[in-house]
């Protein structure tokens, strides 16, 4: 886990919040994190005696404890506790609800399931490196949106004729989020004592593949910081940016597109090989390439990505290369 932590002046007041920004976790990292957690007992035990930094009254979450014992899983959505177990339980509940919902909807809506089932479609998600903070975890199928927990991953389109819906679903590649730990942090201590931490004055994290994983990774790292003895809280988790990509499967005439949509497009082959389309209605920037690949970015919620793609698809169809 590489975490980016803003440096704060050590002489700053306690009340000043530190923003913890997260970045990339592979699925391997998650499992290795879990293993490391299990191997941390001496570490955790060393901190078991309250040094005044840990919140008293909160059960100390020792990774050696088997799941479900000794803890009261609180079904509160906006919990500030850093218990990862609760997080996972909540996700599982949501997943079950979502699956039930999906089954119901499948029975009701009949066909018109878009073909782009995530993780199964031919578009293998590729991890993009971004300089901003995102949390990624590549666990397929575990993706309810945080804000509306019942949104299924594949948007079930209303029963429209096949010609109107594109049938292609953009895959999310990267999610940037920030969270407020609500306490002062000593970066050097964290860098030296936490595993997989590098100390650069500006540490950067990279992306999550879904909102829930972003949140999960944020919680995990807040946990790590907490174990180091800082009274970390989990306030104001907010997703700042989401990036998605997809393929329309036909080549595109960018010159035509820039002629007709001049006020939105910028195509400078000397500067960048793709056309930069700044959509107004959901405020999204799309990078459109000759090959037919489209990258959408700048979204705060997943629906904006889908909406933007549905908006641009008929336009792109109009500029399909015929040869």
């Amino acid at each position: 886990v590489i975490a980016a932590i803003d440096r704060r002046d050590p002489s700053a007041e306690r009340s000043r919040a530190a923003r913890l920004q997260f970045v990339r976790l592979d699925s391997q990292d998650i499992t290795s994190c879990m293993e490391q957690n299990n191997s941390l007992p001496p570490f955790a035990q060393g901190l078991a005696s309250p040094q005044g930094a840990m919140t008293p009254g909160m059960p100390i979450f020792s990774p050696m404890m088997p799941y479900g014992t000794g803890l009261t899983p609180q079904p509160v959505q906006n919990t500030n506790s850093l218990s990862l177990l609760e997080e996972q339980q909540r996700q599982q509940q949501q997943q079950q609800q979502q699956q039930q919902q999906q089954q119901q909807q499948q029975q009701q809506a009949g066909a018109s399931q878009p073909q782009g089932v995530p993780g199964v479609s031919g578009q293998t998600p590729q991890l993009y490196h971004s300089q901003t903070v995102t949390t990624t975890t590549a666990l397929p199928g575990n993706t309810p949106m945080y804000t509306t927990p019942l949104t299924p991953m594949t948007p079930i389109t209303p029963a429209t004729p096949a010609s109107e819906s594109s049938g292609i679903v953009p895959q999310l590649q990267n999610i940037v989020s920030t969270v407020n730990l609500g306490c002062k942090l000593d970066l050097k201590t964290i860098a030296l004592r936490a595993r997989n931490a590098e100390y650069n004055p500006k540490m950067v994290c990279t992306g999550a593949k879904s909102e829930e994983q972003s949140r999960l990774a944020a919680r995990k790292y807040a946990r790590v910081v907490q174990k180091l003895g800082f009274p970390a809280k989990f306030l104001d988790f907010k997703i700042q940016n989401m990036v998605g990509s997809c393929d329309v499967k036909f080549p595109i005439r960018l010159e035509g597109l820039v002629l007709t949509h001049q006020q939105f497009s910028s195509y400078e082959p000397e500067l960048f090989p793709g056309l930069i389309y700044r959509m107004i209605k959901p405020r999204i920037v799309l990078l459109i390439f000759v090959s037919g690949k489209v990258v959408l970015t700048g979204a705060k919620v997943r629906a904006e990505i889908y909406e933007a793609f549905e908006n641009i698809y008929p336009i792109l169809k109009g500029f399909r290369k015929t040869t």
Partner: protein, 319 residues
Amino acid sequence: MIECSRGSVGDALPKVQCPNHPDALLVEDYRAGDMICPECGLVVGDRVIDVGSEWRTFSNEKATKDPSRVGDAQNPLLNGGDLTTMISKGTGAASFDEFGNSKYQNRRTMSSSDRAMLNAFKEISTMADRINLPRNIIDRTNNLFKQVYEQKSLKGRSNDAIASACLYIACRQEGVPRTFKEICAVSRISKKEIGRCFKLILKALETSVDLITTGDFMSRFCSNLGLPKQVQMAATYIARKAVELDLVPGRSPISVAAAAIYMASQASAEKKTQKEIGDIAGVADVTIRQSYRLIYPRAADLFPPDFKFDTPVDKLPQL
């Protein structure tokens, strides 16, 4: 010598007319300061003041003693009508006080608000001079810069960067685009920064520019390489055909142009290497190689029908 006066100077001014011939256009004799009726020769208006310069200055080399009291030509479009008076350093003995310092020192802030703009104009002029750009492009650049400067939306950016981007836009708008790399060569600003300013200026001025084509650069690149007109025309044809047949999708037009020049020159007597073409065009020779590989299979279709081959198509180098 004798000019004809413009008939009706304006309705506000009292019309000077010959009393006997009110319709006659008065002829102005400016040497004597008279306005004369051509019909009867009556001197209608006298003591007309001439606003031209006293001496006609033919040359501008001797800048020290310019006898014209009217001064330099105004640049009204760009300077905001600067009518200030500047006091220059004195030349006689009386202008120095006892310690040898000059008495009147104020020569600063002649036009403080436009000082940065004047500086930028000078910079633009220097840059344009390096690549021999004509006056119309320089004027257009100055106009663009003035508009951007007055808008203040790009105030934080370096003036040199904005000036370079304005130069780039002006070349584009005049139909003779210069590549970013060519502008970089005469400016101290990086290509990235010029590109950023370029996009910002287009947004600020709400204009757009046409897309660049391969033909825009042919004449310049070919003449820099010393290629004859036949080869240049062939290269233009090849590049255009290649884009029409969509052999090079997604490639920058400069790279395609360079590859076309390479193919045309290799088929003619004046063979140029990829490195030479890459130097002139500002593309890497591997880039030329890549684009060349894409157009090579259809080489026979790409040449103009009346081209005289020095090296036949099947003997073209295959990279």
